[in-house]
């Protein structure tokens, strides 16, 4: 079982990111669940979403408390205790930020102790350059799969092409490819 927790704000697309990732895993023959932390959706309010991926059927629908990977869509959320809560030893922290992974490691002491692989990408700039809007979800999917290889780039791109209208799909495919390429990782 591989569990991913997504942290963002309403409008960034965290729920869609969780869903696209699960859908790509299902396409690859895995069992997967994706679900949001259900709130009254408001633009700007903190949003949490979950993706569970497994070889066999998943029964558990409880919120993910010990994720293998945490994806942070909003750079300002990184210091929130909710974001890092329960992250597994040896897990992944993937952050949308202009900073280097080493800076994040220096900022948060627990990350070295827990041997967390830290990955960063400037998803906001990628989204602004290509989409012209600060919707960073697809960039962060690219970052997640570049760091963890949990699903293949091809499967994700196929889901995006099925999910979005043609023009928007191609924009997002470019974003994913760009983010996949630009991601910086420090594995411990």
């Amino acid at each position: 079982m591989f569990e991913i927790r997504w942290h963002g704000r309403g409008g960034m697309g965290a729920v869609t990111a969780a869903d696209v990732t699960a859908s790509a895993a299902i396409k690859a023959g895995f069992y997967a669940l994706a679900f949001p932390e259900f709130g009254a959706e408001r633009r700007g309010a903190p949003v949490t979403a979950y993706t569970r991926i497994n070889k066999e059927i998943i029964y558990d629908r409880t919120p993910i408390t010990n994720p293998d990977a945490v994806v942070v869509l909003d750079p300002y959320m990184i210091t929130s205790p909710k974001v890092l809560a329960g992250l597994k030893e040896g897990g992944y922290l993937i952050v949308n930020t202009t900073r280097e992974p080493s800076e994040i490691l220096d900022q948060i002491a627990d990350l070295r102790r827990l041997r967390i692989a830290v990955a960063t990408v400037d998803a906001t700039s990628i989204a602004m350059n290509i989409l012209k809007q600060p919707i960073v979800n697809t960039a962060m999917i690219g970052a997640l799969i570049a760091a963890t290889k949990i699903v293949s780039l091809d499967d994700v791109i196929e889901v995006v092409r099925e999910r979005f209208p043609e023009r928007l799909a191609e924009i997002n495919v470019n974003i994913i490819n760009e983010s996949y390429k630009l991601l910086k990782v420090i594995k411990q």
């Binding site: 969780a18 869903d19 679900f35 009254a40 558990d60 409880t62």
Partner: protein, 395 residues
């Protein structure tokens, strides 16, 4: 067989309704049901489903229109949640008494107040006395399959009763999961449209919904009671046939866990899955525990429940609805206690009320319930709590 695709619970339900080739859909939007009917509207707009979508001004009208359409001989579908189901209450009795085989999904949700859009079983339990066959799914594949199963059962000439198929709001409705989609041809060969009930036809006129005075009313209630009783056999046959055709079996009651359990949690809906996951995680501890899933709620499969529970030391019934003032404020607990008493089974029972208003039933909660049961299993009945234990509430 269909292909496996990622779908949300609500989409999974909508795809099944499409495959059932319904003629009329009548509904009013309410969270968390809305996206079922939205998806169906999309199918109709795209020409993938040839059905009449009736836009109404309330859930009361939604079910009224469904009653009218079913009376005219259409295969009808509707869906709602929470306050919407409460508003349908009056018409639910009419649909079942007129013996119209409507299928309705309840995307289960708490009832106000305070306003709460999240999941529990308040709405489902509130309409459990309206004469509908009622079943609840544990996962989205089951929610998808239940639609096809429901039409098969509802339209059986020995039954002719409306059916509720429920899935848990958000925990299922808004969760993406792999779904093996039943295609139209498969659905219609399993559940062909059989217009065996009386319909409104100008060439063969009948009167529906007439007065039944004290000389007549009682007989129709007895008829309805017998039809519901008879439906158990039809449901069992349909489950068997579904398993044969599609390779997926959904028993009215399903046990999971130790072969010879002394402690059992009884639950409905997605929480059954959470308990399975917890038991799998704890399997190494080799304890004699299990979970009994109740899928079919009306007609209540008491014979099966008694068979599974008669040799168990103690059970905890997990209710996600609350009836203040009842001798058993957990409605599922109430049914189970009645069944055990009727069959003179002395299994000890505890009532747990948990997960109201969308509060997740976590592994921690499940652990608390199981340890409470282990702690009390050797105690005499006189020392067991008579009131429900509220799990996960702030004291």
């Amino acid at each position: 067989m269909g292909k496996v695709v990622p779908l949300s619970g609500n989409s999974a339900v909508a795809y099944a309704v499409k495959s059932a080739d319904v003629d009329v859909i009548s509904a009013y939007p309410i969270t968390p049901q809305t996206t079922i009917v939205e998806k169906l509207a999309e199918f109709i707009a795209n020409g993938e489903l040839d059905a009449e979508m009736i836009h109404v001004e309330s859930e009361h009208s939604a079910l009224s229109a469904a009653v009218g359409a079913a009376a005219a001989g259409a295969r009808v579908y509707t869906a709602s949640s929470s306050q919407g189901i409460a508003l349908m209450y009056e018409i639910m009795f009419i649909a079942s008494s007129l013996r119209l085989p409507i299928v309705m999904t309840i995307a289960t949700r708490a009832l106000s107040a305070p306003i709460n859009i999240w999941n529990d079983h308040s709405d489902f339990m509130a309409v459990s006395d309206t004469g509908w066959i009622m079943m609840m799914a544990e996962n989205n594949q089951e929610a998808h399959d239940d639609i096809i199963l429901a039409y098969k059962i509802a339209e059986n000439p020995e039954v002719l009763l409306p059916v509720v198929t429920a899935l848990d709001g958000y925990f299922m409705t808004h969760t993406t999961e792999p779904i093996n989609v039943i295609e139209r041809e498969e659905a219609l060969s399993f559940a062909p449209k059989r217009k065996t009930w009386f319909t409104l036809d100008p060439d063969k006129p009948v009167t529906m919904g007439a007065l039944g005075d004290p000389q007549w009313y009682f007989e129709f209630k007895k008829q309805q009671y017998e039809a519901m009783k008879k439906s158990r056999e039809v449901i069992e046959r349909s489950i068997d046939e579904f398993a044969r055709v599609f390779g997926r079996r959904y028993n009215a009651v399903e046990f999971y866990g130790d072969e010879n359990p002394e402690v059992v949690l009884v639950a409905m809906g997605h929480v059954v899955g959470n308990i399975r996951a917890y038991l799998n995680k704890m399997r190494s501890k080799n304890s004699r525990v299990g979970v009994l899933k109740v899928k079919l709620y009306r007609p209540f499969p008491e014979d099966l429940i008694v068979r599974y529970l008669e040799d168990v030391e103690i059970i905890g019934v997990v209710d996600r609805a609350l009836i203040p003032g009842s001798s058993s404020p957990g409605p599922l607990h109430s049914e189970i206690v009645t069944a055990l008493r009727k069959h003179e089974v002395n299994t000890k029972t505890l009532s747990f009320v948990t997960g109201l208003g969308g509060r997740p039933v976590t592994h921690e909660h499940i652990g608390v319930m199981l340890s409470k049961l282990s702690e009390l299993k050797d105690k005499p009945v006189s020392e067991l709590p008579r009131e429900p234990l509220f799990i996960g509430v702030r004291e």
